[in-house]
Symmetry: C2
Subunit: 382 residues, 2 copies
DNA sequence: TTGAAAGCGCTAACAC
DNA sequence: GTGTTAGCGCTTTCAA
């Protein structure tokens, strides 16, 4: 590979990186002990000024700080963690980072935690990658991947855990005795000690269907995901409430279930179109895509002859023709709230008394984060 | 929150999780020392059988293994790392995990490394999130986020590092003295000791343009990204070679640059259409989307009146109408190769002599991974 | 084949 | 204010 033809790129080459050359002595980093010797103080004193414990004279403090700068000293993470039993490290256990919802949530969690001085490691269960849509019935398989990860995080002695689900359901991976602060992200925990952060499916569906009704639609096809899925159940509830509040009879024939895929959307549309719906509510953008497919095949123009809306606001939705009206997921917000909840626990860990008063009711705390509609051109006023 | 209405979900509730209750004594895990006492052997012996050093009698070996099972003993990661100076931990430094290419690569790296007994932590620089498309000119800002991360990974004492770029360019974050095995993923390193894994931009563009030519196109608009971007440069090279090999004169007026966005694609199409192109080669799917936008506005039907192809095979491309012919990125493969390269270094670290012979030429080793075309319906035979 | 002892780099109790 | 001492849980000589 000859780089000479990329001279144009040279300006972005950064200068020799030198932090680590300062930090290393041969191959070894300078230790607190050595630093202490260089400053003619005891290791304790150095430790104290670094961690802001006890007070030291301004003079020694300065001497130490200067030496730290000069040597590039950084406390050894392992030694510190071993001794202090606090690692300032939290683990994200993600069911699958390839789920479209996961990376933004992870990014947001990291951002907020790192701001507060915590390191975060992510463990990827790769559940969907391994077993597609079947794993959550199979306890044994599930535990064969979860258990080693749990062992791992104990071994690393993280200070807290966030479990990031790929889709909403009740998950009982941690029981009431779980010895670490934990929060359940994007699903429901089943423990009163583990708060859950989820999206407000019911309200979001209610809003969307109300919007459809405002635009004159009364026969609205509900294109659901799996029938036993919490997202499906709650969005159907929202759909029903919107109809109810507008005095529209709920017709069960207008509900069709699928598996969230484009193909499922296609099949649902095929099943529902004969029921004379004027609008489809596809509860994933992927399924809305399948609905578009079927409608196009039938020569029907979305946004002119018939209406469609979706859910998720995935990047694809902006490229549909016409662009899809859908619901945007507050992924960053979910991450932020999860991080905050964990931080609260981490910081209240000393005064446990007031940690208990919040959960007298024995019900897990659930935070429902609202979604927001993004209106584009796929819904027709009739 | 009342869960009674979700009875249907009950079947997926997993049974009480109990690994950690076995592992914990009060709040404390069982230690090697305790385990040794339980087995009436010395800590040394336990350590030896766990790590397969020295040989122990089958009998004690069995006794120890059984006790490990029973207690759920897991070596303390911190203590082990502190003492052994080997952490079996590698760091991924990602420029931004929100880049569409990053999660699949990370997932693949993790998969391969974890299979071999390494733990992996990911550090997210969030470069694009912070500074959009401007950061790689700004050395100071760049280092203000990179340096702490570097310090971190030294502090954690990882055994190796993979730097995951958001887009291809020459990156010099590690210099030749960098004391850890490292590999550059999705970009070029500038050190002979750090191999790079990139996609084969030139060949991929060559293939796509050849395909266009086979279909009768001779005036092909090249819709590039930033002009100084390596992806752009190499894809243009491939475009030019395909023309050359087919005896078609390269017309510089048929090249237009943008910033990878949908809007840029729109602008490029507007600029290029008057040149009487019969096909557009948009070097990102996003830009191809913008080309579609403009063409539609002009009443031109892609795949009937005019042809378009893209690059990346992002999920959006399958939802274009007509579906977009594009080039699929071998993201998993890139991750796999990066992991393997690092593993090689990690395992050859003892016999350094033969580590050197590969780099006598002083040129960094570059692995170009081929992409594959995915042919859909946006290219017309003329 | 097994064990005793030392010590990785740090913090915490408790002197002084 | 500062230093001494002990020890977190493990691996590693070295000796038995």
């Amino acid at each position: 590979m000859n780089f000479s033809k990329f001279q144009i790129e040279k300006k972005i080459i950064v200068k020799q990186y030198s932090v680590y050359s300062m930090m290393m002595k041969g191959d070894v980093m300078v230790t607190l002990k050595q630093l202490a010797k260089m400053c003619n103080v005891s290791p304790t004193t150095v430790s104290n000024v670094i961690n802001g414990k006890a007070k030291a004279s301004e003079e020694t403090k300065k001497r130490i700080m200067d030496m730290i700068k000069e040597t590039g000293y950084k406390p050894n993470f392992m030694a510190k963690g071993l001794r202090a039993k606090k690692t300032q490290m939290i683990a994200i256990i993600a069911e699958d980072i390839a789920q479209f919802s996961s990376p933004p949530i992870i990014e947001s969690i990291m951002d907020h935690l790192e701001r507060r001085g915590y390191r975060v490691t992510v463990h990827n269960l790769r559940l969907y990658d391994r077993w597609a849509d079947t794993w959550y019935d199979q306890e044994k398989a599930y535990h064969s991947v979860l258990d080693p990860v749990i062992q791992d995080i104990f071994s690393v002695q993280v200070d807290g855990v966030i479990y990031l689900a790929g889709h909403s359901r009740i998950i009982r991976c941690f029981n009431d005795d779980f010895p670490l602060p934990a929060v359940m992200c994007y699903a429901f925990s089943d423990s009163s000690k583990i708060p859950s952060v989820v999206i407000d499916d019911e309200k979001s569906a209610f809003d969307m269907v109300s919007y459809l009704v405002e635009n004159g639609h009364r026969r609205i096809g509900f294109v659901g995901g799996r029938a036993d899925n919490i997202h499906t159940i709650k969005r159907l509830l929202g759909y029903q409430r919107a109809l109810y509040e507008n005095g529209i009879l709920f017709d069960p024939k207008l509900v069709h279930y699928g598996d969230w895929s484009r193909e499922a959307g296609y099949e649902s549309a095929k099943a529902l179109l004969p029921e004379n719906v004027t609008a489809f509510f596809g509860i994933s953008d992927l399924m809305a895509g399948g609905i578009y497919d079927f409608l196009e095949e039938k020569g029907l123009k979305v946004g002119k002859d018939i209406s469609v809306c979706g859910f998720d606001n995935e990047s694809i939705s902006a490229f549909f023709r016409p662009a899809l009206t859908t619901t945007s997921l507050p992924l960053a917000k979910i991450g932020e709230i999860s991080a905050r909840l964990l931080l609260d626990k981490l910081e209240n860990i000393n005064n446990e008394e007031d940690d208990d008063k919040g959960r007298e009711d024995n019900n897990p705390k659930v935070i429902s984060v609202p979604c927001s509609m993004v209106i584009r051109n796929s819904v027709l006023k009739i």
